[in-house]
């Protein structure tokens, strides 16, 4: 009420103030107490009047006060407002102190607009530079993993340069891109392309090599802050490009630096080791049915304790330097017991050297920030490598009091050597974990004649040492990201800016498959050149005006955006000169092709923000977009948003309350959208080829001296519409005890309709799919963030915690389409299924009692199957989903004098992953689970319970039953008590998904509790004359991991940064990292 009266009286007196005529001119400069830099944009108001001014870029102001006894109010976001009586002076310089209240913290929102956090009607979260810098991850995305709520990040592997998959608030698109928009200093950049390389010569293998996500090109050290914009209202101004949320990155500048040059140097060295791996048995040798078989695929041979070497029978035996393996009673046995090997010795300690140097300075007129950095990383797999060199120059100059020009320019070179992974015959883990314990891969991988030494005598899979030493994918990316920004401050209420930027890179990729590699025995070389260019132009007009206690700001804008890449690809198959990796090196089998992907958009937009009495904040935005990828009569779409923030602690009775020190309720609604991918409005013809899923290369054209085209698999669609996302969010930000304790709670619900996807068709219609508006998805969730300063003073203890629960449902797909494939195999598959969570796992199950769902245990002696075992039902049914029920993270930071200890605990609950690696290892007889295999039979062929060790006997849970002639399950309802053994027949049949078993029992929970990061830092007391700051620190990542998942670190994905997550099939293991670093400022 008091405020309301005040507003009324203000309005009343305002009229008088205008009538008073000429007064006294006061000028001065406003600077920041933090660093002495001038503060532009500070509001200067004569108390009790509407007379006001704003400081220019030099922090200068000039104001006419009605009388010498007036009081001037200087206010600026993030600073404590000062009231200074004029007292007859003509010149008043002011130093503003930063506000202790975190609420006054300025956050960067869409289009680089800065706002106080308290004024927002939607949730944002910011990660600061120090957290990013200390994490020391090559890809900056990994540094913010588990630091926010609502953001899910999955690194595909622990190898250098591996891709990273990121979503904000779940998936918004079914088959399209779900990665957020990255904006760096106002310039949207390319961050995706982190899918695995599936070579054109081997399109049916899965995994291959994990290419880098292009976010890896950024130098994390350059980042001043990263703000995560989550909801539709936060990103509405980005229009169609930010349907998946946005990451707003601000790089460092010299503007806040003092005139004296500041030099920062940061160096660190890190060590990577493999974290957990699937355990292997070392008790049973290569072979079949308990017999040693040289070169055999599997390890179901004899107990190694019964074996010795034989160097007599075949003196030229080349597969083992110790000789052939024979039983100890063999006449030629030489008495030397057979050795077993730890195949994981293959992995090495990876090392990372990271050096970063920056220089910055600023004056009233100009400022600059210049940095260089170099990262050199060798991985846990021999010869894997990632390196990056960065340089950046950010500079700004105030040309006049009302005009400023800034430029940000960054160059990077990223280079990686990736090693084959996943489900292909050259995959490192594939060859490694299938190797029998008695075969030493390390002995030799290449014979003098150039052929390969593998445990399958040259067939089967590559020796992992062969893969690591002979085959590689080399990526080299040169990139430039830069923009120029003009800022105009015409008057205290009208400013404008123009931001023109470019992000362009060239990626060169060479994929080498040596002669005698299993993937392509004749050898092949592949060369890809990709050029990507993205251009962005933003024009913004800002109007700001205060009407008493009502502050209004209006932004009008225009955007032009163009993005596209072109890839030229060539390969040579059948290398005439082994070791010469050049496209010319094939006599008759070279191919080449090109791929383009380009589109443009244009937009106009408006943003209106109203703030009433520092209590009610109302925002509204509208944006209209045009895109070239849409059909001609449907180019445009309009996206509105509204948001409201209500600071209820500004209400009279709640003001100045130390217990409940701050409280805000907020709500927002937005409609955003997404456009079609290019080239989908018409059917086309493509170069013909034939491939059937069984061979690596297939046939293509030219062939028999002619070329050919065939009609595309996708039916063109001229009726495409925009995807629409309606997002709704409510939240509360409440702080207690002078803001020592704060809790932010948000509930959101996003509804995506008309989702564009390649809808699979029954191929009998002549086409495999049609791109159309079909899907509907909904994601809703709760995010809670809390922070507390538990102890203050000399010994400080701060806690930050985040909790996320997201439910991402596929409501419907196209008519007649119940599910679409995201990734996987024949069994299992990750799919989007109508009525289920996004990322359902489908696959084979056991036959079950039709009424109770209990597993049927075979009791029909007349069929070919063994009694006492469950039976696979080769039908795809829902088996679970890949998504966590919730995730949480907790950071504790303790500091005492110069010592700081912080640790980040990351918890994930729920979600399944396909442990295909373990399943295949069971089939192969190499997994530790297969060690209890010995069984003795009576002459009648039943298990001899006296001889067979008790630990080898198993009784399956279930009821007796069988499958009748029509394929229907028949249950007896009687509980199974038949003991059986998990022997070779079992694991090669229904006991392994690699045999004929269902994937159901290869699915494992991925719950985890991990020590994501621990940092111990010590600031050395320094001689101020030389150093301003010196710090040494130790950081460990993933040092502890508790998970029921029995394979590698479950933070992984087979195919890299794609929507179909949850697949582990010979993926590269994750890593633990130990880093020591030193930071110096002088």
């Amino acid at each position: 009420m008091k405020r309301f009266v005040f507003v009324l009286s203000l309005l009343f007196f305002a009229g008088f103030a205008l009538l008073r005529g000429q007064g006294v001119q006061v000028t001065g400069t406003v600077t920041s107490a933090e660093d002495g830099a001038p503060l532009p944009g500070v509001s200067v108001v004569v108390q009790g009047t509407t007379i006001g001014a704003v400081t220019d870029f030099g922090g200068n102001y000039s104001i006419t006060v009605p009388d010498p006894s007036a009081v001037l109010m200087f206010s600026f976001v993030g600073m404590i407002t000062q009231e200074i009586p004029v007292e007859g002076r003509n010149e008043i310089d002011v130093v503003l102190e930063p506000s202790a209240l975190e609420l006054e913290e300025v956050v960067v929102t869409a289009l680089g607009m800065t706002r106080t956090e308290k004024s927002l009607g939607y949730g944002v979260q910011t990660v600061e530079s120090e957290e990013i810098s200390t994490a020391n991850t090559a890809d900056v995305i990994n540094a913010i993993n588990a630091r926010t709520a609502g953001v899910q990040i999955t690194s595909s592997a622990g190898t250098p340069g591996a891709s990273t998959f990121m979503t904000i608030r779940g998936a918004a698109s079914i088959l399209g891109n779900n990665e957020p928009l990255f904006v760096i200093d106002g310039m949207p950049i390319v961050t995706g392309e982190g899918e695995n390389l599936e070579t054109n010569r081997d399109p049916y293998s899965t995994g291959n090599t994990s290419l880098s996500s292009r976010s890896i090109d950024l130098n994390p050290e350059d980042i001043a802050s990263m703000t995560v914009l989550k909801g539709g209202a936060a990103t509405a101004l980005y229009g169609l490009r930010a349907a998946n949320g946005a990451i707003i990155i601000t790089t460092k500048s010299g503007e806040t630096a003092t005139k004296k040059m500041q030099v920062d140097f940061h160096t660190s060295v890190g060590f990577d080791q493999i974290s957990q791996v699937p355990p292997m048995q070392r008790q049973f040798a290569q072979g079949n049915n308990g017999e040693w078989v040289s070169g055999f695929q599997r390890s179901w041979g004899p107990n190694v304790d019964t074996l010795q070497y034989d160097t007599t029978t075949d003196p030229d035996y080349k597969w083992d330097e110790n000789g052939m393996i024979v039983g100890q009673s063999h006449p030629n046995a030489n008495g030397i017991p057979v050795k077993t090997y730890d195949h994981y010795d293959f992995f090495q300690t990876g090392m990372t050297f990271n050096n970063r140097l920056s220089v910055r300075a600023g004056t009233d007129a100009a400022s600059y920030y210049f940095s260089v950095a170099d990262l050199e990383q060798t991985g846990i797999v021999p010869n894997s490598y990632f390196g990056r060199t960065n340089a950046r120059l950010n500079s700004s100059a105030r040309l006049t009091n009302w005009m400023k020009v800034s430029t940000n320019m960054a160059y990077s070179n990223s280079r990686a050597t990736q090693i084959q992974t996943g489900s292909n015959t050259s995959g490192v883990m594939l060859g490694l974990v299938r190797t029998p314990p008695t075969f030493d891969n390390a002995q030799l991988y290449e014979f003098p004649d150039g052929t390969q030494r593998t445990y399958r005598h040259g067939g089967g899979y590559d020796n992992p040492y062969w893969t690591a030493n002979k085959n590689s994918v080399n990526e080299n990316t040169d990139r430039f990201i830069g923009n120029a920004i003009l800022n105009f401050m015409f008057t205290d209420w009208f400013s404008a800016s123009y931001n023109l930027g470019i992000d362009t890179y060239t990626m060169q990729l060479k994929n080498i498959v040596a002669v005698n590699s299993r993937t392509a025995p004749p050898g092949t070389i592949e060369e890809r050149d990709r050029t990507s260019t993205q251009i962005n132009s933003d024009l913004l007009l800002n109007f700001e005006k205060s009407f008493g206690e009502l502050d209004a700001s209006l932004t009008l804008g225009n955007n032009f955006f163009s993005t596209g890449w072109k890839e030229v690809w060539g390969d040579a198959y059948g290398l005439e000169i082994p070791g010469f990796y050049h496209l010319s090196n094939s006599s008759d089998n070279q191919t080449g092709t090109e791929t383009d992907d380009k589109y443009r958009t244009a937009a106009v937009f408006a943003d209106l923000q109203l703030a009433l009495m520092d209590m009610i904040y109302l925002g509204a935005t509208g944006r209209n977009d045009w895109s070239t990828t849409m059909p001609e009569d449907n180019l445009s779409a309009f996206y509105p948003s509204v948001s409201l923030g209500f600071i209820f602690t500004e209400l009279g009775p709640l003001q100045d309350n130390n217990i409940l020190s701050f409280g805000k309720l907020r709500g927002s609604w937005a409609k955003t959208a997404n456009i079609a991918e290019p080239y989908n409005t018409a059917s086309t013809y493509a170069l013909a080829s034939a491939l059937d899923g069984w061979v690596n290369t297939g046939v293509t054209f030219p062939y028999q001296g002619v070329t050919a085209f065939d009609v595309g698999y996708t039916l063109g669609n001229p009726n495409l519409r925009h995807e629409t996302m309606k997002s709704f969010e409510v939240g509360a930000d409440i702080r207690f005890l002078n803001n020592r304790l704060g809790v932010d709670v948000a509930y959101f619900k996003n509804t995506n309709t008309d989702l564009l996807l390649d809808v699979p068709l029954a191929q009998s219609c002549g086409y495999g799919q049609i791109y159309q508006n079909a899907g509907e998805m909904e994601s809703k969730g709760i995010e809670v963030s809390a922070n507390a300063r538990i102890l203050e003073g000399q010994f400080k203890w701060e806690v930050m915690a985040n909790f996320t629960q997201i439910d991402n449902m596929v409501i419907s797909l196209a008519e007649g389409v119940e599910s679409v494939f995201l990734s996987g195999f024949v069994d299992p598959q990750v799919r989007a299924v109508a009525g289920q969570s996004y990322g359902s796992i489908y696959g084979w199950d056991w036959y079950r009692d039709p009424d109770t769902g209990e597993t049927l245990i075979n009791d029909d002696p007349s069929d070919a199957l063994r009694d006492g075992y469950p039976m696979t039902n080769f039908l795809h049914v829902a088996l679970g989903d890949i998504n966590p029920d919730w995730t949480a993270n907790l950071t504790n930071t303790f500091s005492y004098k110069g010592v700081r200890l912080s640790f980040l605990i990351d918890i994930r609950r729920g979600g399944l992953m396909y442990n295909g690696t373990a399943s295949a290892m069971n089939y192969m007889g190499t997994h530790e689970r297969t060690v209890n295999r010995e069984v003795y039979y009576t002459p009648e062929g039943t298990i001899d319970f006296d001889k067979t060790p008790e630990e080898n006997l198993v009784v399956f849970d279930g009821v007796y039953g069988h499958v009748d002639a029509d394929g229907n399950p028949v249950s007896s309802g009687v509980e199974n008590v038949t003991p059986v053994v998990l022997d070779e027949d079992w694991f090669e049949g229904y006991g392994s998904n690699f045999g004929n078993g269902p994937s159901l029992f290869a699915l494992e929970p991925t719950d985890w509790l991990r020590l994501r990061e621990i940092t111990l830092a010590y600031s050395i007391p320094v001689q101020r004359r030389i150093f301003q700051m010196a710090e040494v620190y130790f950081t460990g990542r993933n040092l502890l991991l508790f998970t029921p998942y029995t394979g590698i670190d479950p933070e992984t994905n087979l195919e890299g940064a794609i929507n179909g997550q949850g697949m582990d099939y010979f993926n590269m293991p994750g890593t633990k990292t130990y880093t020591v670093g030193v930071r110096l400022s002088f």
């Binding site: 080239y679 059917s683 034939a690 028999q704 065939d710 009609v711 219609c765 024949v826």
Partner: protein, 463 residues
Amino acid sequence: MKKLSFITHRVLKAGLISALAAFISSCGWIDTELNVNPDEPGDVPMSLLVPGIQQNMGFILMGNNSVRTTNMWMQLYDGVSRQSHSEARYQLTPADVNNYWQSLYTEELMNAKILTDKAVEEGSPHNEGLGKILTAYSLAVATDLFGDIPYSDALKGAEGVMQAKYDTQEQIYNTIFSLLDDAIAKLGAAEEPVGIEGDVIYGGDAAAWINAARAIKARAELQLSKQNGTTAYNNALALVDAFSSSADDMEVPFETANPNPVFQFMQDRTDIRICQTWLDELESTNDPRIPFYVALDENGEYTGSEAGAENEAASYLGDYMAGNTAPVVLMSYAELKFIEAEAALMTGDADRAATAYKAGVAASVAKVTGAANQEWLDANIETETGGTITLEKIIMQKRHALVGQVQPFSDWRRTGIPTLSLVIGATTTEVPRRFPYSQEEIIYNPDNVPSYGTITNRVWWDQ
């Protein structure tokens, strides 16, 4: 006023800079021509459709999946590892035939339909005839494996028919006959302006295509022997003169840069070997084709893998089926001779049967080995007379001649020859008699896919 003009000055100056930049960048910015796919044409001539269809027929329809699976079931080959071992043990799931079904409809049949439609539109009866033959051939192979399949309602996705109804196998066979009759008429029509181009099978020779159409028809007539009896044999007999020598054989060629599908399979997967059952049959007469059908094992011997025994040390497939540039045979003179032999025998003309049988074996031996092998023929084949010839002898020799094709599986279903025992570790109680429908067809065309029970059930002509 002074202040205002000051502002105006600033606004003008800044506005000019910005407007200029915006103008430069906006000229034709939203240009819908940008959405024309630069990598894929919107239309292509008939001559560029023909070789694509034919290559697919060679590589997929008659190249790999259908051939490997059915030859394992017929115990000509054995699958010794991985998925091939599963298939050899009669495990073939709907998902396993996805790729085959996809190629059948979206490649062979769809592009053949476009070719046929274009030919009609552009007034090219020869291309129309070719399109119909390629369609009829693909339909015949497909229906023999799957039974009822969509055709009359199929391939109409662009017209909005996304879920095609299925035709019965009887209807499909009627379609095959009418397509072939029509093709024979069209190919016999007068010289045309366009002509067949891009034909990698017969080099655009219309007369050769007429012969091929008649040969395919002969096989189709015989396939209905269980349903049509004598009529089937008589109809076939009227067509068996379609080819006059192996030089007329309908084959899809392969080359070093685009190698034979089974060659590629053996190079990349290696999971198939020669089956002991078949090797025993060949060795019983010391067949001269053995070195071409069976590769030597590591010990320099011919060994088979007992069906289902996973004997990886057994012999690989020989170069006739798995050579780098071995062609894929779609229809052969030898097959026509065996059709003639069977049809003549079943209609009471045993002498003609014996003569045709001898010609069939001789043609096959000469084609496979490149030599007449008269001595072996004299000792083992030429002794046959109208009095000694049997259906079993005809089908067994036909099986030896048509190895690597799908027809031995059809002949076994028609005649029960040879008698096959179950493979070791069989997952069904009988040898399968059909393929399942593809998983994707079951999911995306659920209302129309017929329920087929299990893969041991019989298609219409097998009943």
